[in-house]
Symmetry: D2
Subunit: 498 residues, 4 copies
Amino acid sequence: MTAADDARLILARLGVPDTAFSTGGLPCRSPVDGSAGSPVRVHDRSDVDAALSAAAGAFAAWRRVPAPRRGELVRLLGEELRAAKADLAMLVTLEAGKITSEGLGEVQEMIDICDFATGLSRQLYGLTLPSERPGHHMRETWQPLGPVAVISAFNFPVAVWAWNAALALVCGDPVIWKPSEKTPLTALAVHAVAERALARFGDAPDGLLQLLVGGRDVGEALVADPRVALVSATGSTRMGRAVATTVAGRLGRSLLELGGNNAMIVTPSADMDMAVRAIAFSAVGTCGQRCTTLRRLLVHEDVADALIARLASAYSTLPVGDPRAPGTLVGPLIDEDAVKGFEAALAQAVAEGGTVVVGGTRGEGSYVRPAIVRMPAQSAVVRHETFAPILYVLTWRDFDDAVALQNDVPQGLSSCVFTDSVREAEAFLSAWGSDCGIANVNIGPSGAEIGGAFGGEKETGGGRESGSDAWKAYMRRQTQTVNFSADLPLAQGVTFEV
Amino acid sequence: MTAADDARLILARLGVPDTAFSTGGLPCRSPVDGSAGSPVRVHDRSDVDAALSAAAGAFAAWRRVPAPRRGELVRLLGEELRAAKADLAMLVTLEAGKITSEGLGEVQEMIDICDFATGLSRQLYGLTLPSERPGHHMRETWQPLGPVAVISAFNFPVAVWAWNAALALVCGDPVIWKPSEKTPLTALAVHAVAERALARFGDAPDGLLQLLVGGRDVGEALVADPRVALVSATGSTRMGRAVATTVAGRLGRSLLELGGNNAMIVTPSADMDMAVRAIAFSAVGTCGQRCTTLRRLLVHEDVADALIARLASAYSTLPVGDPRAPGTLVGPLIDEDAVKGFEAALAQAVAEGGTVVVGGTRGEGSYVRPAIVRMPAQSAVVRHETFAPILYVLTWRDFDDAVALQNDVPQGLSSCVFTDSVREAEAFLSAWGSDCGIANVNIGPSGAEIGGAFGGEKETGGGRESGSDAWKAYMRRQTQTVNFSADLPLAQGVTFEV
Amino acid sequence: MTAADDARLILARLGVPDTAFSTGGLPCRSPVDGSAGSPVRVHDRSDVDAALSAAAGAFAAWRRVPAPRRGELVRLLGEELRAAKADLAMLVTLEAGKITSEGLGEVQEMIDICDFATGLSRQLYGLTLPSERPGHHMRETWQPLGPVAVISAFNFPVAVWAWNAALALVCGDPVIWKPSEKTPLTALAVHAVAERALARFGDAPDGLLQLLVGGRDVGEALVADPRVALVSATGSTRMGRAVATTVAGRLGRSLLELGGNNAMIVTPSADMDMAVRAIAFSAVGTCGQRCTTLRRLLVHEDVADALIARLASAYSTLPVGDPRAPGTLVGPLIDEDAVKGFEAALAQAVAEGGTVVVGGTRGEGSYVRPAIVRMPAQSAVVRHETFAPILYVLTWRDFDDAVALQNDVPQGLSSCVFTDSVREAEAFLSAWGSDCGIANVNIGPSGAEIGGAFGGEKETGGGRESGSDAWKAYMRRQTQTVNFSADLPLAQGVTFEV
Amino acid sequence: MTAADDARLILARLGVPDTAFSTGGLPCRSPVDGSAGSPVRVHDRSDVDAALSAAAGAFAAWRRVPAPRRGELVRLLGEELRAAKADLAMLVTLEAGKITSEGLGEVQEMIDICDFATGLSRQLYGLTLPSERPGHHMRETWQPLGPVAVISAFNFPVAVWAWNAALALVCGDPVIWKPSEKTPLTALAVHAVAERALARFGDAPDGLLQLLVGGRDVGEALVADPRVALVSATGSTRMGRAVATTVAGRLGRSLLELGGNNAMIVTPSADMDMAVRAIAFSAVGTCGQRCTTLRRLLVHEDVADALIARLASAYSTLPVGDPRAPGTLVGPLIDEDAVKGFEAALAQAVAEGGTVVVGGTRGEGSYVRPAIVRMPAQSAVVRHETFAPILYVLTWRDFDDAVALQNDVPQGLSSCVFTDSVREAEAFLSAWGSDCGIANVNIGPSGAEIGGAFGGEKETGGGRESGSDAWKAYMRRQTQTVNFSADLPLAQGVTFEV
């Protein structure tokens, strides 16, 4: 059975209606075997307008629903996701090419954030604080913000929506989702699952969760519209810059998760067995198409040769192939463009003095063999994020230089060090250490937990999603002062008597 | 003695060097009496470049200074501001036209934020949090961000700098200040005071606090430069929109405090004595030139006539005049342009059906008599922020309509209700109440305490300064995970074994 | 079918084993109809010792399980409680005499705290904070504490365990439960449900959740044993005082939820319809046997007569009877002793000058008619908590006096005011307002949500359970400082060089 | 000049009145040279009663003063302490025998906490949180608690008062201080300094800060009195146990800082130079009379001999003597009893198989030479806190055993590890690592910063003072719910309609 056939069965099982497809719609070709499914019906600008009207109406009602009750919807969503886990995971595999374990992991991440957000629905803590004026009470309260547009990328076709939707729902905000044009099927499937949660919940307003499948015009219409209170966009730095500028021009709010160029520093005291495993997973997992994929390996010169040799050996036997097959660790790139990007980057790396240590060849369809490239310096290609499994290796002698190398790229998402030295580890985590939003010790750059805030600095866009107080992006803060005295004192001792 | 002479003496006493002035510089004319002081030397784009280089160097050093020690500098700054309070306050009066009590209040606000930031220097709390993986520790740490550019407006010529600088310094960031072209003298004076604190501190890096006097080109150069990690800009919505767009284009960070159009709702249960006093202060204080000035009065129709009559009476005897004089409550507008704006708005209001109840005339120089205008509807002029003492009055019958009126303007800074009803007060503070960043009960919209977060929504720009966790804008967040086990588990239960 | 028969069927359905019962055990007599079930096997001091050994072992293992994984057990517990909700609720009705809706509400509270604690399992936030010493990192981490003994009372026979157990489990602590001797059956049932969650979870250590049915000796043995890290005890002030003293003598930790003597202040602006309903529910719900039952009604003298008349009318038709019957609002007191206490208190009230307005008679078994007693002053009987449905009414003229009356009792659990005045409401909530742990406006004293911290001051014992940061009682705090520099600076600038 | 003469001059300079002294009062003998000063007038039980009445009155007024204004008093106290720093420090030296640098450090700690508490006065954050009921607002507010009794010990004769007083004042609580009978002079001096701050502040209520010099009876009267809302006691475990029991018996609140028995683990990867310096400071500083003094050295057997040799060498040349003399590192023990305790412990150690490596002799007066004793096992003397400079050394082979040794004492104050291994350091800081309230890496156990919470577990008493949220001990928490709807929903969906 082709991947497209598999997908069709799952979509039917999950209750995606036939009306979601139409001839002339978005073509769906699985990277797994190139098989094509039914084209997906696309929305246009008038659909965007209708969706925004519906979202505005939903917001007026939803913000009045007590947050713990909103949390109940998210809890039910978690239950439905648990029930559909295997199907959704397989669909991720079929549409995005992830191996089975990663597909399951992505759905688990959706479930985790639902559990987390359910608890959050009784928190959303603001502050009470003392006023300097007698007979006054001060409070800071977080209020619902308004409709949230979620623009997601193909590489996490469902988890990113869940990160945003679970928090937004609990915070009192409707959600409009524009998934990547490369992965509409998983979006349809997730929305069908969400419909079940909504049905069990009972009285959620219409327009609370909406899906807009479409191209750039749909995204642009959402981004430009002042009815969208928050644009949460995941994707390339180029896209993010455009979103940020448009939203800023209307003094809106955006939450950006853009490119990464993630490095690992390996020091002599590192546990090399662990380092090899961590490097392999984070450099070739999801075929190098995670935002947090390891792209730069910065090794102390004394241990570089040995480490590279071990990596080359591991790479040479990497099971590349159908991601559905047990044992496969590397599935396909998402499409032909990605393969071309892979090849172009390798060519540029060689032109800049690099030596391909292992891999770098392409196979059938969009399958490639992950590459390791030793580079003489952090040249242009290294400083650029190529969304493919290429690992550049550089060496250093002094730990401060390693940190400087790590920081000397435009992106600032994830970073890590492998070391058993307290001094090195803590320096890496210090104010003068890694400049990234994520900094790990003895863990690869990839694979964040939902309890922490996820996101990065510099060209990564500065947004934070998921745990910690990332929920604040989905609310507006209000400073409230109540005077219950019979007097009218002014702050800072100002006097003014008419 | 002219105001300019007064100012000259104070500047000398505070130690502002002669080199700060130069012929051909920025002209300084006091709104108090129109007298002109020495022109202030202006900086150009090459000064901006030099300042940014110095700030980058200062950052590299300052971020390594322990935060509690950085707090000591801010504590010393607070001490020096206390010592110079009377002089600085008078200079605010002379240059910005504020009455004495308001000038003192503004300096007190600087002092308050220094005390607050000193305490904060041992907090800047991140989180420790449990990892889902055995033998792992997770932490969220806030790190210094980088140089901060502060662009301030004439109406709070010194406090806004202090709000930003006190927090930025404690957070580990150098500060470059571009004051309003209308108020360079107070900036020079504050910098002279800050120099004393730096001298007592001893070993702060060069370039930690810098002042750039200049026009639009200086501001633009700062805003566009990627070396500025955070642009904190206070001013008009037009200016803010430009700043936001430029900064977004380079994926930088901005903190905006833009226009307000602040309303008070008065309900029948309100204490009318207090309401009258609160309205008068918040509508005419600082001659209507606060961001939080009361501009819209929304009164229940049953109490409107009586309230307006009392206000008209109070307005008719308002002491307008030299702000240095004891008893004066209303000083001058900042300049001739402001007077023209005042007159134009009144004319437009009349054209839109409004009736001027009291005031609205201009006197000598830039002195005007504050106006009350009854409006038939929330027409264009009411929805626009005119930086002058005009109070538009509208009536309502149903409390929900009052809230709808309050929210139906593009700005979202401050708001308030006068009522003794728990139901009305709490509804105003609810998720479906005021949409502003500040919401008060039985207090005017004006006069925030530094302990709360200050700022607003919608066209006000979304930034928050001063208290609560506003300091987070001056830092970058880092999610850290440390694996201290001998194993390498992946989040979400993903398995991947080379 | 007798209540005892009903109970037997439910216990069997929930899987409580026969070994839980034994002749000579604790007699179980339902207050609903006096029917007797099988006696419950009791534990002795050697069981306590064995339980504590097992708990110590469980602690050593459980504290190493990542908190989010511990949260998964609590999530499963919530699922199992949802599945058993109707049965558990009916058992609460049968054993404690609560009406159906209250029985369901109590089980819902267990479910709510499980949802909350599941989210909490990724939080348990400590702090990262800046050190005053260069090259140092400071952190505050919350660590598991150790075995927790939960001593619960008959009136919330299952919810209080859940409040404690859900938090304790997530925090890393085993739980030993000693339920009230009056309600062992619900405890057995809950433990059977918990066993299912444990079975689904899979690898929880033995001894994680234990149940000890028994009398005073069992409680005393638990309280005195240093292996119990935290004693969480709910019950009378007399019991709490003994627990506190014993635990203090071994420098252990206790969390006490003791007596309340909860008042409502009614002011002239109150919505009297709502007040009547709130008073009725909070004074007669659970037959006056909640810790938060309304016991004192403090009414402004101008509205007292009218309010009392309405209450008398409502009381006179209160449906008292079998709590299983639809429509019943007042079930039985827990036992004959409680009835005697009810009668004795009424007699004392009359002796102290009170007038019984309505109710005060006893019916069959332990059914009584709730009483309203007008009192001339806050005399001894009013200041004492009688666990029965007696509402004392006092009047006042000045609001400050009302607050003083409210505070002038030894207990400090819950309190409320009915008013529409902002000034009165906020004064009640101010530093000089209610001295209780719970203070409500336009809500009765009873019926807290799990998101807030629950507990009270003075003789109520000072403990806090459930929401907010109540979880901290179940953990120990550790202040950690890591020096990663090559230097050894001392705090406060101390120098000491060998 | 004798130490007593020095002290007399300082007391006069600081304005301590003659009435503070009286014949027949508390004898004051300086441990520095044994010289005796004027006896200090002692208070009796009737003074305690009067003080408590005054404190109750002060509380009623002070809790109404806005917290930021209360913070201003603490800021002024900080200023006055800065001005008196040298005098106070010298008095600490003269009365408690600390070396100059430590005396200065102790006063600096007072200053630091004042700065911290000043900032805190605008925080004291409670929470706003979402209600599950429509039209309801929930809040958690922290309210002033009531009079605080501070019982302090001789070894930190002034800092501990400041930790408590600065927080208590800001929190709205009056403070009654009962200093150690061994150090009344520093208490008198500090109170004279505080009087200046009060005078500058202007309108603080009488009885806000009170000093009661006296013996056990004074302490007991304070502890037993229900008017004391919080007893904050620092001292021996024996004393703390008595305090805890008495306070528990009246259901009051206590904050205990009792004995420590602090260990350092040294692993092979430790920087031995740093370890030697850290050990020397923390074992002999304050002549071994800090609660956080290092008492147990747990060294890996491979590095033990070398480390002990270096320590023995350093100890053999330790400058013991007059603490006023430049260069002195070890001053006297506090009195003859302390010397006897020192000698007795050494004798017991030898009896238990220990070998005195260096030191252990006594000199003139109460001067002794710090001792290092190698012990075969963690025997009784090692598990007991002797307040004198004795360092017991034990060895281990496996890191887990080292942690077990560290934890296997009744006390739980401070602990540390010297290592450069991430695995060891983080394991030490983990849920299964150190069981102490303080855990350091590459820092001795001694010398906490005021920003962290200070205190310990087990027999150390569980209290926390100083930074983090230690201020919560000085306030009471109130959970507030406001219903602003026209409906009366019950939590947990309970229905109850009369």
